[in-house]
């Protein structure tokens, strides 16, 4: 069980490697991972930077509830969710979801569930700073299904 918010750089692969060291090798056969990274374009505009606002307290509770729901739906050895907050720039990792399971079906499905649930329910908001100097709130998440 692990939910992490990073106010500074999120290193997805390092976070993953450190987390996995605590797991028992041989117990899991499948690891599925998703990393979301800030792009330098959105809705046809060049984006210079972005601020990720969140609701401290509620964000962690929502992420923990999402993890719990995944564990109820699939047999999972472990789950890791990490999300960046604060100011980010193109190329910066924003989100990491990872699951460890005996088989790949549970791993793939639950990893995707985590991302879709996080996108639809976890209280984060993105404000983009465009190349033009304008600040713009992202209106809604892109559909993922």
């Amino acid at each position: 069980m692990a939910v992490h918010l990073f106010a500074d750089a999120l290193d997805p692969w390092g976070t993953l490697i450190r987390h996995q060291q605590a797991l028992t090798a041989g117990q899991f056969g499948a690891t599925a991972v998703f990393v979301g990274t800030m792009r330098d374009f959105n809705e046809g505009d060049d984006v210079q930077a972005m601020t990720l606002e969140h609701y401290p307290g509620m964000t962690e509770r929502q992420l923990e509830a999402i993890e719990q729901e995944a564990r109820e739906q699939w047999p999972l050895e472990d789950v890791l969710i990490a999300h960046r907050v604060g100011r980010v720039h193109p190329g910066d990792p924003i989100v990491l979801t990872a699951v460890w399971s005996a088989h790949r079906q549970a791993a793939f499905e639950s990893c995707r569930f985590l991302m879709e649930a996080l996108k639809s329910r976890a209280p984060f908001w993105k404000q983009e700073r465009l190349q033009s100097g304008q600040n713009r709130w992202v209106k809604s998440s892109t559909p993922g299904m």
Partner: protein, 77 residues
């Protein structure tokens, strides 16, 4: 009775504040909190509400000491 009202993202900007303590005497539900705090300004379509950091409907009852939050659709990930 007193409640804490919180605003996030674009609603924080349009409210001009992130949080306030509000006298909620006579207030019954989350929507009443919005109406009193925002002096009749209509709730923007799509606004999400949380009471004590759990999602709640507009008619969710509100009690002394509750934290009531208003925010636009979430866009994390």
């Amino acid at each position: 009775m007193t409640v804490t009202v919180r605003y996030f993202a674009s609603l924080r900007e349009s409210a001009g504040r992130a949080r306030e303590e509000m006298d909620a005497a006579g207030v019954h539900c989350a929507l009443d909190v919005w109406r009193r705090a925002q002096e009749g300004r209509p709730l923007p379509p799509g606004t999400l509400i949380a009471v004590n950091q759990e999602y709640a409907a507009a008619d969710h009852p509100v009690q002394e000491g509750d934290e009531v939050a208003f925010f636009p659709p979430v866009t994390g990930g």
